[in-house]
Symmetry: C2
Subunit: 312 residues, 2 copies
């Protein structure tokens, strides 16, 4: 194997680029803006320029590069073809072939961003040492990445790991971003936690420190739970129940060794993870109840790690 | 590849043995009783004798045999080790090594019976031509088999595809065989359908041909639905909803190309499959809604086909 590789995590605002030794060390990371004008036509050329510039600066050539892995915010088929990335303005095209053409690097692979983050956490993060891992990303939405025998389960229609859209409720009146009503994401994302908090504030008389805040965040709600605030605890219980229940379904399908919980909301740490695990154990099939739960370790770097892992 | 192989499906009452050409043709199939005495210690020797007898009769030797695949009614780790089969009296042991020792055939692999049935249906049955398949077996219980990229997802704790134990209800008062309450199996198995029917008969005044039967079966209930019987239709709607909903969860995890519906209950055919699909589409993430639904084609032979496929 050649000594170096690039892991590229393409987001709606910035592109994170990681220059790696193929043994697994992240040597350097930096960001460039995501230029979305002209249907995102400048994004790949910008990345190619950044990669070629980095190599030139180090006196290296593409012969020193094993490959380039890319994470993109949308479904990817066969590790090559983007099936629309609305956030980037991209339609359907072979993103791997295009990057290969732009850089001259033969081995280029792409994956969905949530999936490659899961792969990164399996490789060098919270799931290290395991090959059957489910990563749950609790951010603005709820994302997932399913790893079976060390490989991403991308799904036949690119929807593998879309666990935020498991339907949890029949009585929901608001729409999820996906168009359905009652998705896990509507309850367990940062947005969902804020919504739950606001509804409890409006509909109950429960005393809470949260009543004193001008604008409440998911962090406020979970911090309040840690401090023993009654409403905070109710919110934590609600979120833990929704997630524990959904993960019990997942274990009846792929039965992972370990769940890695990441994303901004996961910074709540042990209280959240313990609550999820408790509810998981209550709902899971007996053989799966021993699954481990870990907090993600790589933060925003997970996508770079997982992207580069695609080509190693 | 050598010209022949054996596919063995070990059930609680009989062992089904299939003698295959490695190109995929089932040349001969027969059954022997499953002798469960002495903790099932006679089961593998009986199978080995049957295989050696068949070879001798055909003037063949183990040099003509590519391998032996076995399906067993319990969890299997690494395609070799049975992790307890209560039905057979087996504890934890390397069933593949033991069969290899008994027959002299080097390549022996084992899988869970529901999983190998799924593999068989993918290979030569309702899922033919697909490599991402979920099989749902509606019998006394509800079993499942998850195939991703042509391979069985056995799960870290042997519970991959235990879809009958997805928790569907919080209000259930009776226990499932697994010890939980509210499992899919309690509603969508033959047993579950009978239970639902009896409860509707007792608790409603809905007129129905089912009231005239001394003992009602799942087949009676679904036959009544096909004839437009009001209660039959209500039962069908209930079963379709439970299954469609559960399969929508599965698509958010592994997003298969196709669901293959098998087991005795699936003989209801199109009315059942259409109802499952309708409810699936109502609940599934948009990208996954195009998944196909097919009836299983191999019946009781699926386990033999899938078992032999393990070694091909």
């Amino acid at each position: 194997m050649k000594p170096y590789a690039f892991g590229v995590d393409i987001g709606g605002t910035t592109v994170k680029i990681g220059f790696f030794e193929t043994a697994g060390t992240l040597v350097k990371k930096w960001e460039i803006p995501t230029r979305k004008e002209n249907q995102g036509g400048q994004i790949l050329p910008d990345i190619a320029e950044a990669i070629k510039g980095e190599l030139a600066e180090r006196g290296l050539t593409i012969d020193d590069v094993e490959g380039i892995g890319m994470g993109v915010p949308g479904p990817v088929l066969n590790e090559t073809t983007v099936n629309k990335c609305v956030n980037l303005g991209w339609d359907v095209f072979d993103v791997a072939a295009e990057m290969s053409r732009l850089t001259g690097v033969a081995k280029v692979k792409a994956g969905n961003d949530a999936n490659v983050a899961a792969l990164g956490e399996m490789w060098q993060g919270g799931g290290k040492g395991h090959s059957n891992v489910v990563m749950v990303t609790l951010g603005t939405g709820v994302g997932g990445g399913i790893i079976v025998d060390g490989k991403i389960v991308a799904g036949a229609f690119g929807a593998g790991g879309e666990i935020g859209h498991i339907k949890m409720s029949d009585t929901e009146t608001e729409c999820c971003g996906c168009g359905k009503k009652g998705c896990l994401e509507q309850y367990a994302s940062a947005t969902g936690i804020v919504r739950k908090t606001k509804s409890l504030l409006a509909e109950t008389d429960t005393p809470s420190v949260l009543r004193d805040l001008a604008e409440v965040t998911a962090k406020d709600a979970l911090d309040a739970a840690r401090d023993g605030d009654a409403m905070g605890c109710e919110i934590l219980e609600f979120v833990g129940d929704q997630l524990g229940r959904a993960l019990s379904y997942i274990s009846c399908v792929v039965d992972p060794e370990i769940y890695v919980i990441g994303g901004g909301v996961s910074k709540a740490g042990a209280i959240l993870i313990d609550s999820i695990r408790d509810h998981f154990v209550q709902n899971a099939f007996h053989a799966s109840r021993v699954a481990q739960f870990e907090q993600a370790k790589l933060g925003n770097d997970a996508g770079m790690y997982g992207s580069v892992k695609l080509v190693l």
